[in-house]
Structures are given as C-alpha cells and as structure tokens.
Amino acid sequence: MKRETLIWSVLLVLGFLGLTGRALLTDRGMANVYVRAVDRTLVQVETEAEAAEAGGVLSKRWVDAEAPEAADLDLASLGADQVRKVTTYEQVLPNDYYRAVSEDPDQAQIRWSASRTVGVWVAAIFTLAIFSFLYKDNVFYKIAESILVGVSAGYWMVVGFWDIIVPNLMGKLWPALVKGWAMPGLEAQPEPLYWVPLILGVMLVWRLSPKGSWISRWPLAFIIGTTAGLRLISFLHANFLAQISNSIVPLIVMEGGQVDIAESVRSLVLIVGILSCLVYFFFSFEHKGAVGKTAKLGIWFLMITFGAGFGYTVMGRIALLAIRLEFLFDDWLWLIDPSNARILFSAIS
C-alpha cells in the first residue's frame, strides 16, 4: 500500500470512529438542530380597489389571519379555499429544547429537525473536503468544488431572474401582471422607456446564435460606453481631485498656539511619501543622484504599503479559517459552547 493511501485510510477510519463514538456514545450527541413548530392561519385577501388598480388582473394574496389586512374578515364565513392552516418551523437553541422537555417530556412543539441536522453534517463534511486540498488534490475536494460551482451558478440564475428581470424589467413594462403574479406590493405605471433595455437585452443574447452574432456588439458598445463615462467622472472626482485636495496639508500643525509635533510629523511623512512615490514612477529622468535616492525612498514607502496590505490579507484569511473551525467545533462537534446555547443540558441532566 502506498504511503499516502495509508495516511488517507487511517485518517478516514479514525475520523469515522471518533464521530460515531461522539454522536452515539455521549449523552448530548452532536450537531443536533431543534425547531419550534408554529401553527399559522393564512387567509386569502383581495379587495375590489386592488383588483381595479391592477388593471383587471386578479390580485389575490395570502396574508396571516392576524395581519391588519385581514382584520375585517370573518374567518367563519370564508370558504375552505380561502383559508389555509400551515405550520412553519423556527430554529431554536438546544437550551429551549432541553427546557421544554424538562417541563413536559411529551411536548411536540419543540422537536429535533432531521433536515436541518443533516444540513449541519453536509456543511461540515464539505468543509473538511475543501480543507483536504491542503494535503493533496483528491476526489473529495473535486466533488465539493464541483457542487459549489454548480450550486452557485444555479443560485445566480434564480437571483438574476427574481431580483433583476422580474422587478427591474417586467415590473416596469407590465406592472399589473407582475403585481398579480409575483410582487403584490408593486405600485407602478408602465414605463415604455424600458422597451429599450429589453431590445438591447435580446440583441445581447443574439451572441449565442450561429448567425448574426455581430448584433450583440451594439448593446455591448452601449454598456462599455456608459460604464466608462460613468466611472471616469466619479474616479476623477473622488480618487484624483479629492486626493490632491486631501494631500494639501500644513507641514507645521499648530494646536492652541503651540506646534503639534505628532500631527506635524504625520503631515511630513504624508508629503514625503507622496512626492517620493511620484518620483519613483517618473521615468523622464534617469534614477541617479538626488532623483535616484528619492526614488529609492519611494520604493521603501511602496514596500511598507505592500507589507501593510499583506498583513491585512493574512488577518482576513485567518478570520475565515477561524469561523470555519468555530463552526466545526461548536455547531458540528459540540466541543465548545461560546454562546452558552447548550448550557442547560448539564443543569437538566
């Protein structure tokens, strides 16, 4: 057996035994998620005013029986197709479950959730699968990576349809239809100007056609032109002119009639840093003599900036690792309990 195969096999067997032991042989187990079942009554509401406003399109929507819109309704007089009983589930802390069971062992309002518990296990296994790449590229990593890419693509498609196409295009062109179908709170009049983005959008999709793909260049040119214009102005304003203004500071800062040494040094470093960095990027003169020394100082300033950037990047990456380990140790393995979410178990048991 190859050395690496042996290492993988030992890790998997030890991991499986450890998890089985922790899940089955300990009192509390691990990774359990509990939910509270909340029974709700929904009623269908539709007022004449709303239907008329929606241009004759049937505008019905389900609201909670306790909502203000349903205040005037007599539930007893409504037909069976106008009232629905639904149960929603809210995640609760394990403490809530322990407390409920200790008070009434037969209660069913707060219960163990199989689907959400499986969700925690799936998240944990995928986290470990991604981490496994640090040892070596392997099949577990490939599976996790592929599923992540697929799920992300699917999610973006759904978001693109419901959050962009429906409200920003269809909602502007056919508000009555969208109000009755997807956005009951939408109050808008048709805006014919939005036919322009619709046509440009269709032209953009033409790119997929085997013939006439050049048609997509027109909307593309529109996108590039408007984006460039929009960004150029804002960049010049916020990042160029405003930065020049921010850099014009007094070298000697006076505070209460006396020189503020700390602020003065800060201003001096700012001015020297800006000038030396600008000299470094000035290539019309050879970097020799005074120019060369100033350019070298500019390199030092740049290196310190890159170092600070690297330090911040490291901090960000460690924070991401920390939250994944927190998830594994807290939500999955129940090794730690920083939020005291399971503290009542010991009190009850």
Binding site: Y135, M183, G185, S234, H237, G309, M315, A319, L321, I323
Partner: protein, 287 residues
C-alpha cells in the same frame, strides 16, 4: 537543522497554522482590546446622532466574508438600535439581504422587541445594478425602490413617508466585502454630495489598505477587518453592554485570540525564512 528547515514540507506549516487557530478557539482565549482612532471615530459618528435620526445601513457582503464582517454588522445594528435611530437597511450584494435578515433576527427581534418594522426599521433588500443603484438613489430613491425586501409597497411603510433620496440620511453605515462597496459609496455618494452626506464603514482586511486614502475627509471612520470590529465592539459594549454582555456581541473579540497566535506563528516563520536566506547567502547559494 538547516537541512531540515530547508526541506520542510509546506504541509507541516499548514498543520502548524491549523493548530495556531484551533487551540485558541478550543480554549476560548480572549484578550483585551484598546480602541484606536479610527474605531473611536466610527463610534463617535454614531454617538453624535440624536434618537429618531435616519441612518442607512448598507450591508454589502455575503457568507464568504461573514467571519470578518458579521460581528461589525451585528454591533452596528445594536449600536443604532440602542441609540434609537431609524434604520434603513439595504444591500448591493444578492446575499446581503439574507445578512440583513440575520442581523434583524439576531439583534432587533431578539433584544429590541419593542422596535416595530416599518416604524423603527425597514429592510429595503437587495437591488441589482452595482454602483448604478447608488448613483440613482442618492437623488431619487423611489426611482428604484418601489417595494421593500418582502414585497410591501414602500408607500405603505410609515418610515418611508417623505423619504425621497438618501441625502436625507444623517449617516451612511457601510459594511463592505469588496465590489460594489465602500469605494463605490465614496465615489458616487459621498464625494459628489459631501455637504449632505457622511459615511463610516467596516471592510475586509484585503480592501482596507485601498480605503485609507479616503480618511478622514471622505471617510471619517473605518473598521479594518476583524481587528477594527473588535475595537468597535469593545467601545459599544463598554458604553451600552452592561455588566453581562451577550456572547453574540463578543464574536469579534473572541476571534482576536486565534489572530494573535496565528500572527505570532507567521512572524516566527518569516524570521526563520530570513535566517535561512541569509545563511544561504553567506554560503554563496544565493546572491
């Protein structure tokens, strides 16, 4: 020793880093935080507001950066709720809407049940269009927002009455993971309307160095990564937390324990690598 370190498999360094982060988490190591000027400036900007003042909270991040930005978003929400400010939540990132919902459930519904949706806070949700959204809402909020995140017409939301653009906000609070985020808010809202608008922000470590040039004229206060979040958390909890602070308002400070140990490890590794470099230089292996 030289040969051992020279040929050290990088996977041992990964293991060391895992231990450096895991051990402080397991032992729940935590260290006191001393707020720096930028965190103090963020705190002071919110402190200067009066109860009832409108504040726009733009949460432009997603679960990938929740570890860094979640704690500061939670503390921002808590601070604004404690001050009695009217909170207008929005997001330029698709999953930002879920981040808002999470903070509303975790902070407002749990600890401020007296606050009423539509009167004290509103979730305008995600709006696509990147910086285009900022460009529009800075002069015409209703041109883009016809409903809130849950599909309710904004005309029927009491706290939206009279709100025509975001220049009516007393302060913008942005939590940003990248593009679109703080840079775009500065470029399209703060700089052109510097007399009407002020903004404080919290950002990821990677984007923080890019935002420093905006301080202090365009951006009075900035929370850089988890360190900035921990400092701000300390300030807010010292002022409003009372004697027994809920653990959810200590997340940033809890995550500074692993940061300290991991940074010490990295500093140690950099020193060792430099020693190796100079040893090789002395031996003539490198020039």
């Amino acid at each position: 020793m030289y040969t051992f370190l020279k040929n050290l498999d990088r996977r041992w360094i990964f293991l060391l880093m895992f231990l450096a982060v895991a051990i402080p988490i397991l032992f729940e190591l935590q260290f006191p935080e001393h707020p720096t000027g930028l965190a103090q400036a963020v705190f002071d900007e919110i402190e200067a507001l009066q109860p009832g003042d409108p504040v726009l909270l733009a949460f432009d991040y997603d679960p990938a950066s929740e570890g860094e930005l979640g704690p500061m978003a939670t503390t921002f929400t808590y601070h604004c709720a404690k001050k009695g400010l009217k909170m207008y939540f929005m997001a330029l990132w698709p999953v930002g809407a879920q981040m808002i919902d999470d903070n509303i459930a975790k902070v407002i519904k749990a600890d401020f049940p007296e606050l009423e949706y539509g009167k004290d806070y509103v979730n305008l949700g995600y709006k696509s269009g990147y910086e285009g959204v900022i460009k529009v809402i800075v002069t015409n909020l209703r041109g883009l927002y016809t409903t809130d995140s849950y599909g309710t017409s904004i005309d029927s939301i009491p706290m939206m009455e009279g709100v025509t653009d975001i220049r009516q906000m007393k302060l913008l609070v942005n939590v940003s993971a990248g593009y679109p985020g703080t840079t775009e808010w500065v470029q399209y809202a703060i700089t052109p309307f510097s007399k009407d608008l002020r903004m404080v922000a919290g950002c990821t470590g990677i984007t923080a160095p890019l935002l420093y040039p905006y301080i202090p004229n365009q951006l009075p206060g900035l929370l850089g990564a988890i360190k900035g979040a921990a400092e701000y958390e300390q300030l807010v909890m010292d002022a409003y937390g009372g004697e027994k602070v809920d653990q959810k308002y200590m997340k940033a400070r809890q995550r500074m324990g692993p940061q300290l140990i991991a940074h010490l490890l990295i500093i140690g590794l950099i020193i060792v690598a430099n020693i190796l470099f100079f040893m090789e230089k002395r031996k003539g292996v490198v020039r």
